[in-house]
């Protein structure tokens, strides 16, 4: 074994001041402060009734100056409560030269035996002293990001985010893979709003925004463009974009439309959900932006007829796909959703019967710029249907293979909206909505009542099948309120298709290395407090790429994402300095750490490895992977870890059990909660806070056993991207223990959650008795775990 780490530099000459807090009896009622005080060997040992009170600030500072202290240990409450307070007492010393011993939450509040708790308080304090000897002065990192952003996806979310960024002075590139921006919103024709009992024209609302995008000096609009590659460099992103060859010189095209007349190619018009035909040279819809024609390279025959009639000479078949590299400070994913593929629910007959359509198709049918100029018709014969049956949850709320487990959130309102429009314009057409639950949360309830008052019929039941009998379609459903199975005859069925992430959402997430949910939506860092952050720092998400939501919510989220980007760029960020750092002299540039880091904090630039402090979570997984010992996590160096382990195990009696519990941030808070709720657990348990189990290496574990630990307890919150490597780590530890003749049951792993502190306390008790029985099964006098000399 490498011995470098096990040799600590001698730090016996540092002057440490130890300040003990009685906490108004909270500590001193259990812990014998006098004995504690007299057992500590330090330059200064003083006790105070309430160390956190303002007057103690002066006291401590005076000691620092008078006694020329180099380091400070405060033995008091949990660092979570007052570490910041005590750090502010440190002046003129660097605040990071302070260490705290948690003798309240993790000692006096959980133990009642005065003798044993005083012993434990002593070892906690000594451990803090051992650790603080190796502390380094640190300064917080201040970071500014390049003032530019890329917004990917030109739907309502992307448009909103881009405009907000641009209005805040941030140079923004809006990237859309289709020839035009506007996304789904521009296709659906009419939209519902929370407070209005009317359907508004989506085009009328969207057009001014689209025009603003085009006019805005800070926005660069790239249509027909996709992100091909992304690379993180420093705090910035290098994106490689590819703009499809559109064969049209956008600056020349006047959108006269002469070309369309002569184009001989007819293809299904995807913008109109394939309900009508278009030419190979086309503009998706009259108001499309950019207001130019485009050529569908897949179907174009390159016959040149359009070229002949174009007076502006705007058509150029020699154009090639263009590669555009851009460098931006932030990325917003706004790649949206698509409709569920109804072929996966064949029983609804979508691919068999012409008159079974989706809500999006119905929107196009009823859109004024659609195939019928807004007239409702049955696709089979162009007649107005007598009855329209809507089937809710087509693919949503469905746990079965290929189904979507979630509620698509908008379909109830979409169905009501379309039903309401039909009832207004075609009073002879009956509309029946077959539903499981009508979900019109908040203000939308008004709209639901409004729809009902127009005579929309509701049948509560989830249809099982759509079939055809004679000329009519038949919907098989149970009216669950009547307890009656029925076949509803109808001449048109509208399936309220689920929303699922667009192909682009999934592809782009792969390119940007952004985490996805089980349902393949972009995963936000935290659904409550970080709803627009992704797990890659600097990449944000908004709109339906993140989950099903309506236009109102998409716009709110887009604005939130934009202001997060702007926070980063305008304010800059102060980051805690406890992050990983590379020592370039030792680094052999193997790049292993880059692959290991799931936070994507490590990158290579100009033949050097860098760690982005903004993205680093200080988990320390990179350290274990580095064969050249070129990485260290500041504030958690090997010396500090060895120091605290040795300190915790000092002066252990023969008949005593000591268990070291390494807990991550979540586990540590859970342990504090045990204290706050005064749930007892054995004194043997000594808690050491680490950023992650990934920081620990076999040498630390073996060191602990060598120094006399009877058991090691590891606790970590499982819902993090590095969890998989923790599992590998545990296997590695167990293997090493086996090699060294240590019973692997002496190492225990437990998943911690802040609210489940009772479970953690119970685990401590359980582990203690496990260790006890292990020790008893050994001959007491011979119990010395065999660890090789290093």
């Amino acid at each position: 074994m490498k011995s470098r780490a096990l040799k600590f530099p001698s730090k016996s000459d540092v002057n440490i001041g130890v300040f003990l807090c009685r906490c108004g009896g909270n500590i001193s009622d259990t812990v014998d402060i006098e004995r504690l005080k007299s057992s500590i060997d330090a330059a200064v040992v003083e006790d105070f009734e309430n160390l956190c009170s303002v007057k103690c600030k002066k006291n401590i500072r005076d000691y620092i100056i008078e006694k020329n202290l180099d380091r400070v240990v405060v033995a008091a409450c949990s660092p979570t409560t007052h570490k910041k307070t005590f750090q502010s007492y440190m002046n003129p010393l660097n605040p990071y030269l302070l260490e705290m011993a948690n003798i309240r939450e993790q000692c006096s509040w959980v133990h009642s035996d005065g003798e044993k708790s005083t012993d434990k308080a002593l070892s906690l304090t000594r451990a803090a002293m051992e650790r603080v000897k190796h502390a380094q002065p640190l300064t917080p990192i201040f970071r500014k990001t390049k003032k530019s952003a890329a917004v990917i996806g030109g739907g309502i979310s992307g448009i909103t985010a881009a405009l907000s960024l641009a209005n805040q002075g941030i140079k923004t590139c809006l990237i859309e893979q289709k020839p035009t921006i506007g996304g789904n919103m521009v296709k659906i024709g009419k939209i519902f709003s929370p407070e209005k009992l009317a359907e508004e024209c989506s085009m009328c609302l969207l057009n001014p925004l689209i025009n603003e995008v085009v006019r805005h000096k800070k926005i660069r609009l790239l249509t027909n463009t996709r992100v091909k590659k992304a690379e993180r460099k420093g705090g910035n992103f290098n994106l490689i974009l590819e703009k499809k060859a559109g064969y049209i010189k956008e600056d020349r095209c006047t959108s006269c439309g002469n070309c369309v007349e002569v184009c001989p190619v007819n293809v299904l018009d995807d913008w109109n959900e394939g309900l009508m035909m278009r030419k190979a040279i086309y503009k998706p819809f009259p108001q499309a932006v950019p207001d130019v024609y485009t050529i569908d390279g897949e179907h174009c025959l390159k016959c040149g007829k359009c070229q002949e009639v174009c007076k502006m000479g705007a058509i150029d078949f020699s154009m090639k796909a263009e590669v555009i590299p851009i460098n931006v400070g932030s990325v917003i994913i706004a790649t949206g959703h698509r409709g569920f593929d109804l072929a996966r629910r064949p029983e609804y007959g979508y691919n068999r019967f012409e008159n079974v359509v989706t809500q999006m198709e119905l929107a196009r049918i009823m859109g004024v710029n659609g195939p019928t100029k807004g007239k409702l018709f049955r696709p089979s014969d162009g007649r107005i249907p007598h009855r329209v049956v809507m089937v809710q949850c087509a693919g949503s709320r469905d746990d079965k293979p290929d189904g979507k487990r979630y509620c698509s959130k908008i379909c109830c309102m979409v169905a009501l909206k379309h039903a309401s429009i039909i009832r207004d314009h075609y009073p002879d057409t009956e509309v029946i909505i077959c539903y499981t639950d009508m979900r019109t949360a908040g203000m939308y309830e008004n709209y639901f009542k409004y729809g009902q008052s127009k005579g929309i019929r509701l049948i509560r039941g989830r249809p099982g099948e759509v079939t055809k009998k004679g000329d009519n379609l038949v919907v098989r459903v149970e009216d669950t309120l009547l307890r009656e199975t029925m076949e509803i005859e109808t001449d048109m069925v509208v399936l309220s298709e689920a929303i699922e992430p667009s192909k682009g959402t999934v592809e782009l997430s792969k390119i940007l290395n952004v985490g996805l949910t089980e349902d393949l939506f972009v995963k936000e860092k935290h659904s409550k407090i970080k709803p627009v952050n992704t797990d890659v720092e600097g990449v944000y998400v908004c709109g339906t790429a993140q989950g099903p939501k309506d236009i109102t919510d998409s716009i709110s989220q887009a604005n939130a994402a934009a202001s997060k980007v702007s926070e980063l760029m305008n304010g800059g960020l102060e980051i805690e300095p406890m992050v990983a750092e590379v020592y370039s002299a030792r680094c052999k540039m193997c790049g292993t750490c880059i692959d290991v880091c799931k936070y994507k904090a490590i990158f290579m630039d100009d033949e050097q490895i860098y760690i982005d402090p903004l993205a680093c979570n200080a988990c320390g997984a990179c350290i274990s992977s580095c064969k050249n010992q070129a990485i260290e996590v500041k504030g958690q160096t090997d010396d500090q870890i060895f120091g605290i382990i040795s300190g915790m195990l000092k002066d252990k009696r023969d008949d005593e059990i000591r268990i070291l519990a390494f807990l991550d941030g979540v586990g540590y808070v859970a342990a504090d909660n045990i204290g706050i709720n005064k749930i007892p657990y054995p004194e043997s348990v000594r808690i050491i806070k680490i950023t992650s189990i990934n920081r620990l290496m076999p040498k630390h574990i073996l060191h602990a056993f060598k120094e006399g630990a009877d058991g090691i307890f590891l606790g970590e919150y499982p819902d993090n991207v590095m969890y998989a490597s923790i599992q590998e780590k545990l296997q590695e530890f167990k293997k090493k223990l086996l090699e060294n003749g240590i019973e692997s049951r002496r190492l225990m792993f437990y998943k911690v959650y802040t609210p489940y502190f009772r479970g953690l306390a119970a685990k401590f008790v359980e582990f203690h008795s496990e260790i006890l029985s292990l020790n008893e099964s050994l001959d007491h006098s011979f119990y010395t775990p065999c660890v090789p000399e290093s």
């Binding site: 996966r344 064949p346 068999r352 079965k400 293979p401 290929d402 079939t467 055809k468």
Partner: protein
Amino acid sequence: MKQIPCKDILLFKSCLVSVEYPGIESSTRYLFDQLGIEYLVDERQSCCTGLGHYYDLFDQFSTTALAARNLAIARETGHKNMAVMCATCYAILKKACQTLEENKEIRDKINNIFEGSGMGQFSYQRGDFDSRSNIFHVAEILYNQKDKISNLSRIDLSSFKMASHHACHYCKAHYADTLGDVRDPQVIDTIIRSCGAQSLEWYDHQRLTCGAGFRQRFTNKDLSLSVTAEKLLSLKEKDVEVLVHMCPNCQMQFDRYQPTIEKILDTEFDIVHLNISQLVALASGADPYRVVGVQTHTVPVEPFLKKLDIDVDLRQKNLERSLVDEERSLVDEERSLVDDGRD
């Protein structure tokens, strides 16, 4: 998609195949031989309990214990891939295998019974089988050989309208293991098409049960037959001539009851019922009476055979020929004796 084996197969005997449509077994064996699929039939294997199980007569524990014994036979003979001809066997074996894998208490109880009665060789150890990758329906194995099947096809079936009836206990009971889409499996349809025939894309009530409903056939006959009739009517509307099955119980429900339903409804269904193995064997030129076993059908298959230009008097001729063969072999014997004498 799951891996489908072509060797180490235990062809699992089915009670209804054995006594109602033995032609399904002879057709399957014939096809396995033609396709070079290595398999074994073991006389010790018991019935899966399926019918009794779903008559509610058997309890889950007894069914599982018997399954453990049958699995042990497969293990012992080195033929761990169970191929079933009946959908009920499929569902029963999968469920039992899952229980033995996942439920320690039940596994221990069953093993204790075995060990306490000198049958320790039947004990089930965790990991012995995987219900997903060791238990298959014969139709899946044929599906996997679809290309070879089209090469085997010798009879032109292109003018026939066929439809599939995917048995419920194959496609619905363990839906996560069903090949293709649970709601529209297309396993049989694909094989039908490999034989050169047309198979309906979809028909109303495609997913509907045959109507046997285990006890329903006996105790609720009207209910049972009204379901069968509903499906037959839907097939009639689409002019289906052959309904292709994968389960002898479904086949029995349709084939045996079709004349009864015709009487009740006063209508005629010109629908012949064949198991998928029977159809493929027929398409590849197998003898209808010596391999396909059409002589046990209630709805006569002969009109369909006639359309295929297959000699329907074959059975009689077979019988005559076997008499002739017998005579000939006697003659041959005499001749060889004479030949021997010459040397």
